[in-house]
């Protein structure tokens, strides 16, 4: 195959250009996070620090709601890491496109592999496996937008009227609904979500809210997988997705040989 010649400054610019929609989406979302967290009594510096070390939007919103609900710290960590376990899928599925990279570059790029960065990288890696310069520009400009928005939101948080802060509280369920229905298009995935919801509600009614998310996730995933492997129609819709994924992975492997 023909040798891919990559010019770093050009790749940097291309990465920045592709990052624009993510930067535009992260900025208001992280402002919302800053406003919401400070409205619930978290000091601005702690809120800023959480964005610097976590860079995981859904988990951060969840941290604020679990923290204000007085959840035990260990179950907070377990719940939030379970939420972020979906990132295992991202790394393993786009990994082949990074096969030719130097090891240290992979460790740097992984920090910025959020839902949106993954979605963008995954959709383009078929045509052209990303270069480090491209990927770093994409991931770290998105990171800057996330941190800058948080700092801004946290610093104006106190000035936001209570009614507005209360309405912004629904940003979190809305974000979850969006993440859910962006991906869950098969019947088995909807059943997995419904099972998770039912188990978590029962756990809370039974007075065990800390266990709800973990048990709900494990039960929901297992029921979803069982349904996907037994339900013929669901199986067919997954098989279609699998063929697309296989084609993509083969193309990446060819590209990295």
């Amino acid at each position: 195959m023909k040798k891919r010649v990559s010019v770093a400054p050009f790749d940097l610019l291309r990465g920045l250009k592709d990052a624009v929609p993510i930067i535009l989406a992260y900025f208001p979302l992280s402002i919302t996070y800053g406003v919401l967290a400070t409205a619930r009594g978290i000091p601005a510096w702690a809120c800023d620090l959480s964005s610097v070390v976590m860079f995981a939007g859904a988990a951060q919103f969840m941290l604020v709601s679990l923290y204000t609900a007085g959840t035990n710290p260990l179950s907070m960590v377990a719940t939030l890491l379970l939420v972020n376990l979906r990132h295992v899928l991202y790394g393993t599925s786009i990994g082949p496109a990074f096969a030719r990279w130097e090891e240290k570059h992979k460790w740097v790029a992984a920090f910025g592999l959020t839902d949106e960065v993954y979605a963008l990288t995954g959709s383009q890696a078929l045509e052209a496996p990303p270069t480090p310069a491209y990927q770093f520009a994409l991931a770290f400009s998105s990171y800057l937008s996330w941190v800058a928005g948080t700092v801004l939101g946290a610093s104006v948080g106190g000035a936001v009227p209570a009614a507005v802060a209360s309405a912004l509280g629904f940003a979190l369920p809305a974000l979850f609904l969006s993440l859910l229905f962006n991906q869950a298009r098969h019947r088995s995935q909807i059943v997995a979500a419904a099972t998770g919801a039912a188990v978590a509600v029962l756990a809370q009614v039974a007075g065990l809210p800390s266990f709800g998310v973990v048990t709900g996730a494990v039960a929901g995933a297992t029921v979803g997988l069982a349904l996907a492997t037994t339900d013929v129609r669901d199986h067919q819709s997954w098989a279609r997705d699998d063929r697309t994924r296989l084609r993509r992975e083969r193309a990446w492997q060819r590209g990295s040989e």
């Binding site: 995981a56 496109a97 629904f170 974000l175 993440l179």
Partner: protein
């Protein structure tokens, strides 16, 4: 300042930050080297909707920790049009903005 910030919020944020980074980096490094068993990847694919369901269920049905009737529950009422927007738009920011507006409207109507 609330001591829980130093003793709970910050340590949890740092632990989850480090853990998330390890999940992202180890899966990328391993994913670039070896193939994972198909059943494990498929099970992991179901963890995401299941976790989201488990977070949404109590947030929508038990807003203050106890059952609230649907017509007195703005979160549940707002979730229906928000879910429709999420399904059809597939746009994170747009769905969040629509959701906040629906929630404010539901709170005003109730």
């Amino acid at each position: 300042m609330d001591p829980h910030i130093l003793h709970q919020f910050i340590p949890v944020a740092v632990a989850v930050g480090v853990g998330t980074y390890l999940i992202r980096s180890l899966s990328l490094v391993w994913g670039s080297r070896l193939a994972w068993p198909a059943w494990l990847r498929q099970w992991l694919a179901f963890v995401t909707p299941a976790v989201l369901g488990a977070l949404l269920g109590p947030a929508l049905l038990l807003p203050d920790g106890h059952l609230v009737l649907p017509w007195h529950n703005p979160a549940l009422l707002a979730a229906i049009p928000t879910a429709a927007v999420a399904w059809y738009s597939r746009n994170l920011l747009f769905t969040v903005l629509a959701g906040v507006v629906f929630y404010a409207a539901a709170g005003y109507l109730i």
